[in-house]
Symmetry: C2
Subunit: 198 residues, 2 copies
């Protein structure tokens, strides 16, 4: 199995973290998240969105979008509940992550550390407000809970951990979200956990 990967991408880290828990073997092909000039050539036939992560399965079929990859590999494992309502709740949080969380926190982190041209102050302020709203929603939900769904560690936690644990690199002070802080600690001490730079 081949993972088109980026060592600094939280979206790719999600996949590597689940693969580590599952003990799956795979090759990594590193693509730059800054110079994307070769994306059409490398990913054109594999992923219409030309993004990493993209996985090529052993039989040669491709799968893209980090959260779809998580779902495919977590199905029928302890990382995705078998109950229909609980699995739909996991998917609800995966959608929240891609719509309300990643576009704010991941994009701010990218702008601050990797972008070649800086965005406007208005764009920065909009992403900061969106990221704060996402972290507040998570903190409210996690108050009195150990994990996002069904009191069990799942791909909902893996997906949200990826950029939340790096939110300080996007300029967010996680001390303002104490339930999120305790949950981050809980995730990072799960059996088989690996760090983003592993």
């Amino acid at each position: 199995m081949l993972l088109y990967d980026s060592g600094v991408s939280g979206n790719c880290y999600k996949v590597r973290l689940l693969f580590a828990h599952l003990g799956l073997a795979y090759e990594r092909c590193e693509l730059s998240v800054v110079d994307r000039s070769n994306r059409s050539e490398v990913l054109g036939d594999l992923n219409p969105a030309l993004r990493v992560p993209t996985v090529v399965l052993d039989e040669g079929r491709a799968l893209a979008e980090s959260n779809a990859i998580l779902w495919y590999f977590a199905d029928s494992t302890p990382y995705l509940p078998s109950d229909a309502y609980e699995s739909a709740q996991v998917l609800q949080w995966l959608c929240f992550e891609q719509y309300s969380h990643e576009p704010n926190i991941a994009v701010l982190r990218f702008w601050l550390h990797y972008a070649t041209s800086p965005p406007s102050e208005a764009e920065m302020a909009s992403k900061q407000a969106g990221g704060q709203a996402a972290l507040q929603a998570m903190d409210r939900h996690l108050a009195g809970r150990t994990f996002f769904v069904g009191e069990r560690y799942s791909i909902a936690d893996i997906a949200l951990y990826a950029y939340t644990h790096a939110a300080d690199e996007a300029g967010f002070d996680l001390a303002a979200y104490p339930s999120v802080g305790r949950w981050l600690e809980r995730v990072s001490t799960q059996n088989g956990h690996v760090t983003i730079d592993a």
Copy 2:
């Protein structure tokens, strides 16, 4: 069953379209997409993102995020493939819709028709470029295909139809995407189809 709804929201239309195909009965509670001042009061305990659609199931449990709602109700019906790889491909397109399509095309449509304060030209241009890239990716994928996954109408088509069929309201000329145009016609002639204003 109760659907917190908006008649003009494509995200809500996705759910109503699937419910029509499945013949499900439900009540609608209309929320404004412009005046959101009552969102915490109405949705605070149901959906951490305070967005519509939010569904309250018959047993009182809530589910949010349009694509998670589609998945929950389509599971074990003809609208979601039972094959693991095909269902992962459906989820890939649902993720694409929420990350690369809706934030550009739906947001531009909102700005042009419903927003009370206009965005900057730079913001408009960024959304136009993102929307064109999404429509191009769809058009390439649909060339030689009838539907997005497995040559069968699924919730991938329902999710992408919602804002694509209204992309002209966001300023996009769909004549530039002929495969998308033929697919829109195919979707709109499926048994049980309803329009956004039904």
